[in-house]
Symmetry: C2
Subunit: 129 residues, 2 copies
Amino acid sequence: MDISTREMSLTVGEAAERVGLTTYTLRWYEQEGLVAPVGRDSAGRRRYTESDVNWLFLLTRLRRTGMPVRDMRRYAELARQGDRTLGARRALFEAHRGRVLARMAELEEDLKVLDHKIDAYRRAEEELA
Amino acid sequence: MDISTREMSLTVGEAAERVGLTTYTLRWYEQEGLVAPVGRDSAGRRRYTESDVNWLFLLTRLRRTGMPVRDMRRYAELARQGDRTLGARRALFEAHRGRVLARMAELEEDLKVLDHKIDAYRRAEEELA
DNA sequence: GGTTGACTTCGAGTGCGCTCGAACTGGAAG
DNA sequence: CTTCCAGTTCGAGCGCACTCGAAGTCAACC
């Protein structure tokens, strides 16, 4: 593994593809402070490092679990303040974890409703047949 | 149980409270065709029957599981067409059920990421302590 | 050296799902 | 009879999270 492989840097397009967001969204996330200013090459183009991509990946998971962009920004701000906010960041994640668990429990309840309904339709169809 | 209890009819406000939506939303749902036109009293005010409320409850579960309003409208249209659409409605629910299951699997994966992160924070805090 | 294509910034636009303000009406309580 | 409250319609507005168009720059390839 040579240096060029180890020091990977991706364009906005490549980074977007890897994390499953659009280039628009990546730039917007940066603008919104969800991502610290990304490094640039000599032509002023963004170069995403591996840790940038890891951070973006984490953001996609937070987003997908329903965290509002506002809270992601707050989290990003904490992260930029270094080690002294580790506790706050953990607390933020633990609170979010609780919400995700609640959401999952909700979905399980809702799934029951769906299943009952499917069953009712099945029985009604048989009735008519 | 007398007749007035058995033939319940609720105002928009009462119905809203029962299903956990606002009166604005209830009227909007009707306007959007998610709910068949609700009966009115002599003064032109909506009166929700028990089956109206049951229908609204079902809508809240569909909504909460992430069904777009567009699809809920399609479902409502099918329901209004009577028994001949039973199969289509079941198919719609089964498809939706699949999406909910997928969503739940996704959340479980995301929860793992959260847990790993919480653990990493815990270890980092210990390191600093 | 010209063309192509991916990048840059900026501000404006979009889609979704409500949410609300305004102006009005009508039944019920004091 | 007046006051109050909850309802009515209509169209406009909002918050969120992107998404895009325009105009320009620049590196890479033929």
